[in-house]
C-alpha cells in the first residue's frame, strides 16, 4: 500500500482544499446576499451591472476565471497577486453569483404578507429583513445550498490549474511519481468523506429548523 506513505502529502493537499472551501464560503455567502438584494433593485443602473456580473460568472468556466484572476491583476493592472489569493478571489466571486441566485429564489418565495406584517407592526425594513425574512429564507434555501457546498468541495480541484497544490494535484503528482492509481483512489475517498461531512452538517441544520412549517 503506497497510500500510507503518501498520506501526509495527501492530507496537506486536503488542508489546502479545505482552506479554499472555507474561505470561499466565508466570502461568497455574504457577498451573495448583497448581490441578491442588488439584483432585486428596480433601479436599472444597479440591476443591469449585477445581471451582467451574474451572466459572466455563471456563463463562463470557473477554470477560465481562475486563469483570468491569476494573470489579469499583475499583467494588466500591475497589481501583484498570489496564486492562493487569485484562487480565493475567483472562487468567491464565482460562488457568490450562484449563492445570490439561490438566495434570490428563497427571498422571492417568501409571501409578500410577511413583509407587510413586518411593516404594519412598525418594524423597520432592516428589522423585517433580519428578524422575519432572513430566518425563513435560510430554511428554504438549505437544500440547494447543500448541493452548492458539495460542488464547491469538488471544484477546489480546479485550483491546481494555477499551481495551487491542493488534494487533486497532490494525488496526481503521487500517481505519476509512483506509477500507481492508488493515490487517485485515495483522493476520491477523501473527497467523499469531506462531502459526507458537508451533507451531514446541512442535514443537521435542516433538522434543527424543522420545528416549524411554512
Amino acid at each position: 500500500m503506497v497510500t500510507f506513505q503518501i498520506l501526509p502529502y495527501l492530507l496537506e493537499g486536503t488542508w489546502r482544499a479545505l482552506q479554499i472551501f472555507i474561505l470561499t464560503l466565508v466570502f461568497s455567502i455574504p457577498l451573495g446576499i448583497v448581490i441578491a438584494r442588488l439584483r432585486q433593485s428596480t433601479v436599472r443602473i444597479i440591476q443591469l451591472p449585477v445581471r451582467f456580473y451574474l451572466l459572466i460568472m455563471r456563463g463562463t468556466p470557473l477554470i477560465l476565471q481562475l486563469i483570468f484572476f491569476m494573470y489579469f491583476p499583475p499583467f494588466v493592472l500591475g497589481i501583484p497577486i498570489g496564486r492562493f489569493t487569485a484562487v480565493i478571489l475567483a472562487f468567491s466571486l464565482n460562488y457568490a453569483a450562484y449563492f445570490a441566485e439561490i438566495f434570490r429564489g428563497g427571498l422571492e418565495s417568501i409571501p409578500r404578507g410577511q413583509f407587510e406584517a413586518g411593516h404594519v407592526l412598525g418594524f423597520s425594513s432592516g428589522q423585517t429583513f433580519t428578524r422575519i425574512i432572513l430566518p425563513q429564507v435560510i430554511k428554504r434555501i438549505l437544500p440547494p445550498s447543500a448541493s452548492e457546498a458539495m460542488t464547491l468541495i469538488k471544484d477546489t480541484a480546479l485550483a491546481q490549474i494555477i499551481g495551487v497544490a491542493e488534494l487533486f494535484r497532490a494525488a496526481q503528482n503521487s500517481t505519476s511519481r509512483l506509477v500507481s492509481i492508488e493515490p487517485i483512489i485515495a483522493a476520491g475517498v477523501i473527497y467523499l468523506i469531506l462531502n459526507s461531512l458537508v451533507a451531514l452538517v446541512f442535514s443537521r441544520f435542516e433538522k434543527k429548523l424543522s420545528y416549524y412549517r411554512h
Partner: protein, 255 residues
C-alpha cells in the same frame, strides 16, 4: 369635536397603471366607532386599507391618523408623505389584520405577539410577555402561547394575529376580510372576538363580506363599488337602500 376624529381621509385617489382603483374617497372615523366597508371584489376596499396602512402609496389626497398627517396634497394635487420617522409613529397608532393572517411561522404564538412590543417599542421582555399572555387569555388562546402557527387552526391563527395587532395598543384596528380564508365555523370564532372588541369600544374599520355581521355590529356601513363610495349610513339605511347599485349588490346575499 375634532379630537374625536381618529382617522380622516380626503379626496384619496390611487391608480394602478391606468386603472383607477380609488377615486376621490372621503372617510372619517370617530373614536369608538365600528365602520364596516362592503362592496364587490375589485371595488377598492382593500386598497383603501392598504393606503392607510402605508402598504401602497396614494397618488393624491390627504390622510390624517390620530391628528398626525400621513400624506397631504401639494399645490399640484399630488400626495406628499410625512418624514420617515413620522411615518413609523403614524403606523404605530393603527393596526391591520390580514385576510391571510400573516403570522410569523418561525416564531411561537407568544413571540409573534411580543416581538414588536419588544423590538419596536422597546418594552422589557417580561412586560411584553405578561401582556401577550393576558391577550391570549382574553382571545381564548391561553394554552397556545408555546405553539407555532402551523399547529393552530385558521380561526386560532387569525385570533393570534388579532392579539399581535392589539399588543401595540393601536388607536384604530383595521380588518381586511378577516374571515375570507376561513370556513363558517372558524369564521364564527373570529367574529366573536371582533364583537368582543366592539363591546369594549375599540375603534375598528372592517372590510368584510359577512353581511349579517356587518348589520349587527356596524355603527356605520360604507358601500363601495369601482373605486368610489356609493353610499354610507347606518346598517338600517344601507340595507334598506333605495340606491339601485346597493340593492343589486345586497340582493346576492339575501338569496
Amino acid at each position: 369635536m375634532p379630537s374625536d376624529i381618529v382617522l380622516s381621509v380626503e379626496n384619496l385617489a390611487k391608480k394602478f397603471g391606468t386603472l383607477e382603483v380609488l377615486k376621490s374617497i372621503h372617510l372619517t372615523v370617530r373614536r369608538g366607532e365600528v365602520v364596516v366597508i362592503i362592496g364587490p371584489s375589485g371595488s377598492g376596499k382593500s386598497t383603501l386599507l392598504r393606503l392607510i396602512n402605508q402598504l401602497e402609496q396614494a397618488d393624491s389626497g390627504n390622510i390624517t391618523v390620530g391628528g398626525q398627517v400621513l400624506c397631504k396634497n401639494d399645490p399640484q394635487g399630488r400626495s406628499v408623505y410625512a418624514a420617515k420617522a413620522d411615518l413609523k409613529a403614524i403606523q404605530l397608532k393603527i393596526g391591520l389584520v390580514f385576510q391571510s393572517f400573516n403570522l410569523f411561522p418561525h416564531f411561537t404564538i407568544e413571540r409573534n405577539i411580543t416581538e414588536a412590543p419588544v423590538h419596536v417599542l422597546g418594552q422589557p421582555a417580561a412586560q411584553a410577555k405578561t401582556k401577550a399572555s393576558a391577550l391570549l387569555h382574553k382571545l381564548g388562546l391561553a394554552e397556545k402561547a408555546p405553539n407555532y402557527p402551523f399547529q393552530l387552526s385558521g380561526g386560532q391563527q387569525q385570533r393570534a394575529a388579532i392579539a399581535r395587532a392589539l399588543a401595540l395598543e393601536p388607536e384604530v384596528l383595521f380588518f381586511d376580510e378577516p374571515t375570507s380564508a376561513l370556513d363558517p365555523e372558524l369564521t364564527g370564532e373570529v367574529l366573536k372576538v371582533i364583537r368582543q372588541l366592539a363591546a369594549e369600544h375599540m375603534t375598528m374599520v372592517v372590510v368584510t363580506h359577512e353581511m349579517a355581521f356587518a348589520r349587527e355590529l356596524a355603527d356605520r356601513i360604507i358601500f363601495m363599488d369601482q373605486g368610489v363610495i356609493i353610499e354610507e349610513g347606518t346598517p338600517e339605511q344601507v340595507f334598506n337602500s333605495t340606491h339601485e347599485r346597493t340593492r343589486q349588490f345586497l340582493r346576492h346575499y339575501s338569496e
